[in-house]
Symmetry: C2
Subunit: 219 residues, 2 copies
DNA sequence: GCAAAAGTGTTGCCATTACACCCATGA
DNA sequence: TCATGGGTGTAATGGCAACACTTTTGC
């Protein structure tokens, strides 16, 4: 007996990843030069096809790991793109995920291996298919998320400075923030701890490093 | 020559719809008694499989139309569920959409036809697979959306009263709102127009009907 | 006349914004 | 000594929340 499911069509399913890094005061996105037809040579998001015994999230994790060598990345599903002709090769439905990585952890030798480049998000070229739209959606989702919880940490090293942190949020929101107000708000959240070290890389005076606070005991 | 895509696995793709209606001061969701194995007889969301030449959105539109007889419904994609064993029958990846309908437009004869029921969202039974989680996600997405733009209209008739409108938002947010503050905010948005009719169904005094304002000319 | 829902303003508070100067240091 | 980026406080504003009584009318 044939099951109810048997007559239905099946589809190629992909995940495409918007990998954000933070570098020189700008949000950057990792892009690939597409290595196969159609659209070979053009820029695209890193992605991969879902495998038979793999969950969607696992597929995203796999793709992210392949491309960055990193594990346990912060990631979030963004949206699923299912237009009939979105992929000019064959019908593919694609689930977009974004991920946040500390760009210092990224092994730049991978750039050559995958023919990849980091591109400033303020300066995105045209991408294949609907990938530009995916990036837009991901930026939007990141904005929303960042306004709710402090996901920004994932884009920075373990220790960082308040000016760095502010620049990051300015990059995420795409607007300049008031220094005093920003510091006030961030510090009032009681999740950051001022360390007794200074980072003197970006100024002569040096800025105090801060880090995630060790969770305090519930009162 | 085989294309790059040809070796990849293909998957069943479904859309599942959380159809919200507003009735007697409560958000309701349309559920089906599942008519086929597995889990036959249990409650599930209405859904359907994606067809070969159909976009995801079109599939959602089709399912919504089948089940409600209505067109041009307000709907939004929520999330895609892709765990390997989420469907106990076969591997199915499912994209959840929610829709808002004016429950008065709903032809109740369809309840019998599809073995469907309206269930209060405050009183949801267990659903098959991960459908309960889908409802949760949809409620969350609706909450977020409603806070940004006035999507609530879609759950009400063309004309409605402010007390009705308030009850609706109380149902969406799941909390009681202050009458004066609510009216103040809603009216200050300049999108509602007070009509010269009263609805006397819910009180002796009657409440003025309001409706969407005809767009004013840009100044 | 009374029960039941509709309608109506004011006040205080808190969160957000705007804003300008001194500090520390390396070159 | 000067150029560069780091660090700090206060005052004004506006949005949001809290709050109680009068009105209408069907029964």
């Amino acid at each position: 007996m044939t099951s109810f499911y048997s007559e239905k069509h099946k589809f190629l399913l992909a995940v495409d990843c918007i990998i954000f890094g933070f570098h020189e005061g700008e949000l950057n996105v990792l892009l690939l030069h597409r290595s196969f037809e159609p659209e070979k040579g053009k820029l695209s998001l890193p992605g991969g096809f879902l495998k038979e015994n793999e969950s969607l999230n696992d597929a995203a994790i796999r793709v992210l790991n392949e491309l960055t060598g990193l594990e346990n990345l912060y990631m979030e599903q963004v949206h699923t793109f299912g237009d009939v002709h979105r992929d000019s090769g064959e019908r593919v439905v694609s689930v977009a995920y974004y991920a946040l990585i500390n760009i210092n952890d990224y092994d730049t030798s991978l750039l050559g291996k995958y023919n990849a480049i980091w591109v400033k998000s303020t300066d995105m070229p045209n991408l294949v298919f609907d990938h530009s739209e995916m990036v837009q959606s991901a930026r939007h989702a990141l904005c929303q998320r960042a306004a709710i919880e402090p996901v920004g940490f994932n884009l920075l090293p373990e220790k960082f400075t308040l000016p760095q942190f502010q620049t990051l949020y300015e990059a995420i929101y795409g607007e300049v923030l008031d220094k005093r107000n920003f510091r006030k708000k961030v510090l009032s959240m009681n999740v950051l701890e001022k360390l007794n070290e200074k980072d003197k890389l970006s100024s002569k005076r040096g800025a105090f490093l801060i880090g995630l606070m060790k969770k305090s005991i519930k009162s």
